[in-house]
Symmetry: D2
Subunit: 386 residues, 4 copies
């Protein structure tokens, strides 16, 4: 294990994970997390996902993978290193497609960790799997766009400085993939209605730990707010998904490893008859072995996909990227489910992180393209050679 | 469908289910639910699980099954009919094992719906699968028992008038099945420490909709509080489990049917491309067909088990009772999981009941004996003939 | 259990099952099986699937179910009772749709057990799931039809007296469901090319235990050979499938029960360490419990479907009939697979019947409509109400 | 892909795979396969699994993996390259533990491909999972051992020159792992009773393609026939298993890839309605995507395990070696099962290789330690750290 990996792991264990037990109100927690960021910067681990030019660690995606896994073991990990979704994706978009002014105004403070942002793509009333259904629109009006629409699952919108909004600028374009654009919208301008933080399986969250529902009622932004060019919305979104999926998948593997450890500890420590632990039951052993196999498979596949993105580009790694999406999200569910079952009644309480993940990560099989969509895509891509 | 089934179904649809949308505070909801009980009584549907002698509908268990299914479709259903856990089980125990005084004091108000009760068996520190590990004790002291111990998952303890507590009265008895007893403990006496309503997957609930954690610190009750006799704790608990499992399983099937309906409606109404619904996708069709098969199988098996309990008694129906426990609890998880996936992002929000069930019914595979324990029991019982 | 069920079970155990061990050449086996038919007739069990008018037991489909289950436990069971596929289905067609001459010539000897028949529907080159692709044709020529086509999986064609052939008589009919007809074709007339008994997973079989591949090269039959009327092919085929599926499913359940018994016996008798049997392993216990649950579910569902066919007709029982097809075929595979695994190396040999069923029943998920087709049909039927 | 991999793949496609269609009698096939060995030798691909010193390709295990995968795509592949089981394992044992005389007499002709051998470990009457149950014994008698016992699943025993026999030499040794030894036994000496080639799922096979059942009736061999030393039987067997499992797993992956290709081709070529192929069905797409994911996962895990054996030794790679055993064997079954289902009726015939693999590779979940044993071993090993 590289030196920095060891260091990061120790830092996470000693400084970040202990905060989980404190059950602090969000505002107090945030102060502590932001304090920890100074240590991360001093250690040279800030922005581990980004190139050196913008102040990152300068690692390949394959090298970043293991960091994301370690950080994923704690719900606060990515935030402390400033590689949290959705900011990490937004940084990538701005680096790749932002104008100098956009970079100055939005990218720089993001890189410093001074602000947060959100990404508003999903809509409650249209199927995300089909981009041509997108109902949010930006209509040109003089030097401005006027935006109308209804978005939700804009993660971390609560407290974000700006949103990158996916919408239709040319809804009649025959080339359906050129209908959409991405536009930067400050969150504090007129017409943005913050409906609510959506309760996810009973818990609404707050600030960074939330998913916002937003309405755009005649929101007016200057045309210079567009990212890339009009009609580039989908191609930018596609670019964002490849590395984003590696981030997510490695984070999920981090969760898996932590849940796996909890499962093993519980199996060893829970007495089922005098002197005999739960670990002696063959069913529990099966679950441990199957989880080990599935987690190992996941990690190898994600790193392999990262390597392909690094070497041949995300476009040529399409099959691998879609494959890990549905494979790892299901492994995550399996491992969490088994870990809960091994914990018995404790497993369904909020006394361990297992139920947090069970509820908050159920979306893994849905967001960024439902598993079912990815499976069909993989098959269609493969069948092209037959 | 019998007349009363039709009537109950219509009543549930028109009077009870609409309350789900109102999101009332618990106290207001409770008032409304209690009001509805009058209609249930007038209609002759009160206590559908109990014999006519105690004011019930006088149905067999097999006949009660379909009622429990209908009521299970709404989280408030059983409560309105006064057949909710854990009161229904406690009523059965009191009917079967209560002294005239116990019946007068505890059973009568339960039957009338004037009070609620709880059942304190599970302990955080001992494995429920092994009764000899039970750590709560009642020590004889003059005419009293002095109770010490730590219980949790005492469902609906918050606001309960009394608890039936499972504990050891004779921890050294060589016959391990005679070590335990069940004792009635009023909830308002000294030494009962109400620790908390346990948060289940992030949500703690309140009153009837809660699971309590309790400590018993030198709680003193008269010896007349014992149910049946000293050492009868396990046999009473066993008696309780057979019919209780039919209640639960039919309730789960009710949830399945409601989730199934939601899945079908969503599949038909969700547009994935202009004029084409989600229901045209073969994967969705597979889930609908598989869910239909599994739910049908569940219902037939549970009614068959109920029929066996009715005709040959719970003891001889052991295999069937354990079989439905693990079979139906898994069908419930499958159906809920598929319904959520069909709902996409909406499925993981609290905007539908799906996430409520997904979190609050995850315990189905754990409580009343983990599935794994039941499977071993079924196999051992079957293998006796080989 | 009814008297005749007990009698049939005993007869099967004492007279039929012992033949399995003798490994007789087909011709010798056949003699023995035919001899046993006399006992069946004397006992009043002949043609258990048919009404009294044609010499059967006069049972409802639901009553016949348990007989089919018992007989299914032995590969020779149905044959000895003259309720074997495909003759049983052909008898039904002839009873329902045959002319007096057809009944005299074909039905009577079938009922007596004097001849065997086959059913030629499946074609190697067209997908059975889509009837409009059917490539075999009968062209009218004077008073005759001239038949050309290529069929396979005509079970028991080897030695059959006649075939009922499904083919297109009106391939251009706009109503695709009226293009096909069923025609009786004697097997000994010119133009019928018996290509081979198809090797199924390595074993070709012989006579009754075979699946024929046939070519029809200008085969000429009189027009009076048609069943029902021109264009009635599909509706006749549909009629045949409902009860046929009950027969198959109950037969599969019979196989399941026998394999289940073998699994239990092996688990108890196989020593894995001195004094400790394989049955002590929890994984084995899980398999036994899960198999028990799945077999029970299967039986209840099939009998329920049979009851619906008996009471409301096959057409209204469509969902139930398709549901059992895919549910029970998968249970069959699960149970066989587990039983093999419990037998270890012995399980993959031909020394037990397990491998026979594993290979010869794999088709259960394919024939009479692949599971996948049935699932889509079930979903589409259900979704009509949404 | 390395040059030799490309070359081997082309050679397999052009020279070896075509033989599959010829359905030659075993003796004729053998001649052709042996002829092909000359081309392999000339190309420098002989003994790809062995070091250069003994005439092999001198590759690491991780490098050999992809060769084994390519060869595994054809049932004759490994044989033509002289890396077939059980000879490959026997060569390893002889290289590692053979005396100069043993090497001269047995190893040299094996390396040249002049003879074949077999390995007799499994016994019909004792559970292979527990070595202390081994019932075959070698009793010292003067300068000889006298061997008695009953073995089966001695693969390729039919025509083998010698067997390596696992047996007890010191059945009372308190250290149970020192009771067994491995002894070389020529197949043509008195007392060896060749019972039969065991029919596997209906097919007995012949010569190299067979699994023998053998009895040893007072078979007498000189003491110099022992491998390593008395009591070393288990440690030798353990050594053999690590690399052997890589060989098997990579071979299984080769089968998976070939079956995967067949599945894709069938999906594209099978018309289900005019102009519409089976590949348009989402269920088929799911199977293709899931198979792709599972096969990729398998390959990465096996190569990772091979790399660990290469770098830290088989002993420290225990978890990885056991993990791939159960993971890949199940992937193999999944992929074959899906490929068969996609082929419909054709899939269960012997007209494609699918049914050959379905039957002959079902043992993969049983031999070399049943999956269930490996899972428990993996769990126990992992739990040591908790």
């Amino acid at each position: 294990m590289s030196d920095y990996l060891t260091g990061i792991k120790e830092f996470l264990n000693s400084e970040v994970i202990p905060l989980e037990q404190e059950n602090l109100p969000y505002s107090e927690l945030l102060v502590k997390l932001i304090d920890l960021r100074d240590q991360v910067k001093s250690a040279g681990w800030w922005l581990p996902q980004l190139p050196g030019e913008v102040g990152g660690m300068g690692l390949s995606l394959e090298q970043f993978g293991p960091i994301s896994e370690i950080l994923g073991g704690c719900p606060y990990g990515h935030f402390v290193f400033n590689c949290q979704a959705p900011d990490a994706g937004n940084m990538e978009i701005l680096i790749e497609h932002g104008t100098p002014e956009q970079k100055e105004k939005y990218l720089q403070p993001l890189l410093k960790g001074d602000i947060r942002s959100c990404f508003a793509m999903t809509e409650p009333d249209t199927a995300g799997s089909n981009p041509i259904l997108l109902a949010t629109t930006a209509t040109a009006d003089g030097d401005d766009y006027v935006i109308n629409g209804h978005k939700w699952f804009a993660s971390s919108a609560d407290g974000a400085e700006f949103a990158i909004v996916m919408l239709q600028t040319d809804p009649e374009n025959e080339n359906v993939h050129q209908r959409a654009s991405q536009i930067i919208v400050p969150m504090n301008i007129p017409g943005i209605e913050f409906v609510r933080n959506i309760p996810i399986m009973g818990v609404a969250g707050e600030g960074y730990f939330s998913h916002g529902e937003l309405k755009f009622n005649n929101v007016r932004v200057p045309k210079s707010s567009i990212l890339g060019s009009e009609g580039a919305g989908f191609s930018i979104a596609q670019d964002r998904l490849g590395p984003g999926r590696i981030h997510h998948c490695m984070r999920w593997i981090g969760i898996c490893e932590r849940a796996f450890g909890m499962m093993c500890e519980r199996a060893m420590s829970r007495e089922i008859s005098p002197g005999k632990s739960l670990a002696t039951k063959q069913t529990i052993q099966n679950w441990i072995a199957e989880s080990r196999a599935e987690i190992n498979a996941s990690r190898l596949m994600v790193l392999d996909a990262a390597n392909r993105i690094d070497t041949v580009g995300a476009h040529k790694a399409k099959v691998e990227i879609s494959t890990i999406k549905f494979f790892v999200s299901n492994v995550l569910m399996n491992v969490l489910d088994r870990a809960i079952q091994v914990h018995g009644a404790l497993g369904i309480t909020s006394d361990t992180l297992l139920s947090h993940w069970y509820t908050h990560e159920r979306g893994a099989r849905i967001y960024d393209g439902a598993d079912e969509v990815h499976k069909s895509n993989v098959a269609r891509e493969i069948l092209k050679s037959y």
